[in-house]
């Protein structure tokens, strides 16, 4: 418990420092509110539009979470698949990179056509944006499995599946966790960007649309409120990954303390 409490002191301190710094910059450099509003202003407009923001956060957060989970599972699966053979890796590793490099705006129409409006295409976009790091880190982790242990498994005529499940996946897990951390951040930004291009549907705007709209209308404070809330979603996912990582790794700190 105490240690758990201790865990949260440093980030808290840093957050406070961060806000102070922010306020400081705004005040000292007299930065115009339409460029960078003061934290106070952001807080104000956050309170003002609270209900709307909460709604939006739930909508966007839900999509991001789902996309993240999908990206995580599919990513690990694909990464493991590529880990099966050098040929597969050389052939299909680069193409997966494409996923990350094609700007959403280019394929947004296709998305809307294929996945319809709102959540579905947002989720799809999230997956596309967040999956590569998971693939890469899974593959990387699998590739750096201790060759001596691989030899051990080979000696016991272990099936590919066994080798993967009992050896490669466990020893890749630290690397996979790292990949998921990256994916957590990406899935939030992915969801929001998707909402920029295909989001605002029906009466209820998700965070992405709120951000775009408030940019257009110089409601910078509102925009930053929305951005901060979206990043809270991100931190939530991040925390999720850390908990997962702790569960997976804490007990064999012989390797990873």
């Amino acid at each position: 418990m105490k240690s758990l409490f201790m865990r949260f002191i440093p980030p808290f301190i840093v957050a406070v420092l961060f806000l102070l710094l922010w306020e400081g910059i705004v005040v000292v450099f007299e930065i115009k509110p339409f460029l960078l509003p003061s934290p106070v202003a952001v807080w104000e407009s956050g309170r003002e539009h609270w209900d709307q923001l909460l709604q939006a956060a739930l909508r966007t957060g839900g999509a991001a979470l789902l996309g993240f989970v999908l990206a995580g599972t599919v990513g690990v699966a694909l990464g493991s698949l590529l880990g099966l053979s050098r040929w597969l890796e050389r052939g299909f590793y680069p193409p997966t990179l494409l996923l990350q490099m094609v700007p959403l705006i280019a394929i947004a129409p296709l998305f809307v056509i294929w996945f319809g409006f709102g959540a579905r295409s947002t989720i799809a976009a999230t997956v596309v944006v967040a999956i590569f790091p998971v693939i890469a880190s899974t593959l990387g982790g699998i590739r750096s499995t201790d060759p001596q242990l691989l030899e051990l498994f080979r000696f016991h005529h272990a099936s590919r599946l066994q080798t993967w499940w009992k050896l490669q996946l466990p020893s890749a897990s630290p690397s996979i966790i790292t990949g998921l951390r990256v994916a957590a951040g990406l899935s939030v930004i992915g969801a929001i960007t998707a909402e920029f291009v295909s989001g605002y549907t029906g009466e209820s705007a998700p965070l992405g649309s709120i951000i775009i709209a408030s940019v257009q209308n110089f409601q910078t404070a509102l925009m930053f409120a929305a951005v901060l809330i979206s990043s809270l979603v991100g931190f939530l996912l991040f925390g999720l990954v850390n908990v997962l990582g702790w569960l997976v790794l804490h007990h064999w700190h012989g390797e990873h303390s």
Partner: protein, 315 residues
């Protein structure tokens, strides 16, 4: 996924209308119509979908994802060339609202000065039709520096001028306390396409003329009423789009009137379109190398509705 019941079957036709931006006076007449119940009759049920980024609406109509959409005038010609089959039914803006704005105190008095000044930094998507028209008109000097549209940057003085919707950005900025001078692009270049045009797919028009007719009626009455008394609907809009203040809504509603109502609409009625206008738009686009050839403009729009028999001369 709502779909149109075959003629004769029961229940209203459930159709979707895709806007190309968030709720604001540019779509005031539509929300007015909805407020008046014209979009929820026993024969028609319209699901109005606000847009975002303004990118996907034309594709969505062209692919049949939605039955109706609001798009820009030149977009119709451009996407049809790329395989879309859009037909314009109602042109809200008779004139192109695109404009170039400069800060009130700016030394630049005309677009021409801007375009030919070596120092000007212009926040404009220089490949958009209306910018190209201006370039062609004023043979932009080599040094003229076009940068991405970025309103805060303009506001912060990093751009000497910025493209805008004369009904949108200037209003917001004014309420922000930042006064601007606005130069209509259409007036400067003579390229004046319709804007905020109601479109549908040709195949849909052919198979559901009644639905389209009722839609057009709703538009006509909605816009007529809105151009007279926008207040109630503006109230509604500012609820749908909290990012835009009621004040801004009202001001915009006022500013856009001259774009919607002019001599021609007095003669032919609100939302009207003519072959001459369409032809000149198309010809200009060809000149700007944004269109390969002038299409058959008759197939391009339908006004007044039902004047021509449906399904005819479609290439």
């Amino acid at each position: 996924k709502p779909s149109t019941p075959p003629p004769g079957s029961e229940g209203p036709a459930r159709v979707r209308l895709q806007l190309n931006w968030v709720p604001e006076p540019q779509f005031g007449g539509i929300y007015e119509a909805r407020r008046l119940g014209l979009l929820e009759t026993d024969s028609l049920a319209v699901d109005v979908r606000p847009g975002s980024g303004g990118i996907s609406a034309p594709q969505l109509v062209a692919t049949g994802e939605v039955e109706f959409g609001i798009v820009g005038g030149s977009q119709i010609l451009q996407i049809n060339q790329e395989g879309g089959e859009l037909v314009a039914l109602f042109a809200v803006y008779q004139h192109d609202p695109h404009a170039i704005m400069v800060p009130e105190g700016s030394p630049f008095q005309t677009i021409e000065q801007l375009w030919q000044s070596p120092q000007a930094t212009i926040g404009a998507e220089s490949s958009l039709a209306f910018i190209r028209a201006l370039n062609e008109q004023f043979s932009a000097s080599e040094q003229a520096r076009f940068v991405a549209y970025n309103l805060p940057a303009f506001r912060a003085g990093r751009q000497s001028a910025s493209q805008c919707f004369m009904t949108a950005e200037p209003v917001t900025l004014e309420l922000e306390g930042f006064r601007t001078r606005v130069f209509s692009a259409a007036k400067a270049s003579g390229f004046d396409p319709y804007n905020t045009v109601l479109v549908t797919r040709r195949s849909y028009l052919d198979s559901n003329p009644e639905v389209c007719r009722e839609m057009v009626d709703a538009f006509t009455r909605g816009w007529t009423s809105y151009t007279r008394t926008p207040e109630k609907t503006n109230q509604l809009l500012s609820e749908l789009n909290p990012a835009m203040s009621l004040e801004a809504m009202n001001l915009t509603a006022k500013r856009q009137l001259p774009l919607i109502l002019d001599a021609q609409t007095d003669a032919l009625g609100i939302g009207c379109m003519t072959s001459d206008r369409w032809t000149s738009i198309a010809e200009r686009l060809v000149a700007l190398r944004l269109l390969d050839r002038v299409p058959d403009v008759e197939a391009l729009y339908r006004w007044p509705f039902g004047a021509q028999p449906s399904s005819e001369d479609t290439d």
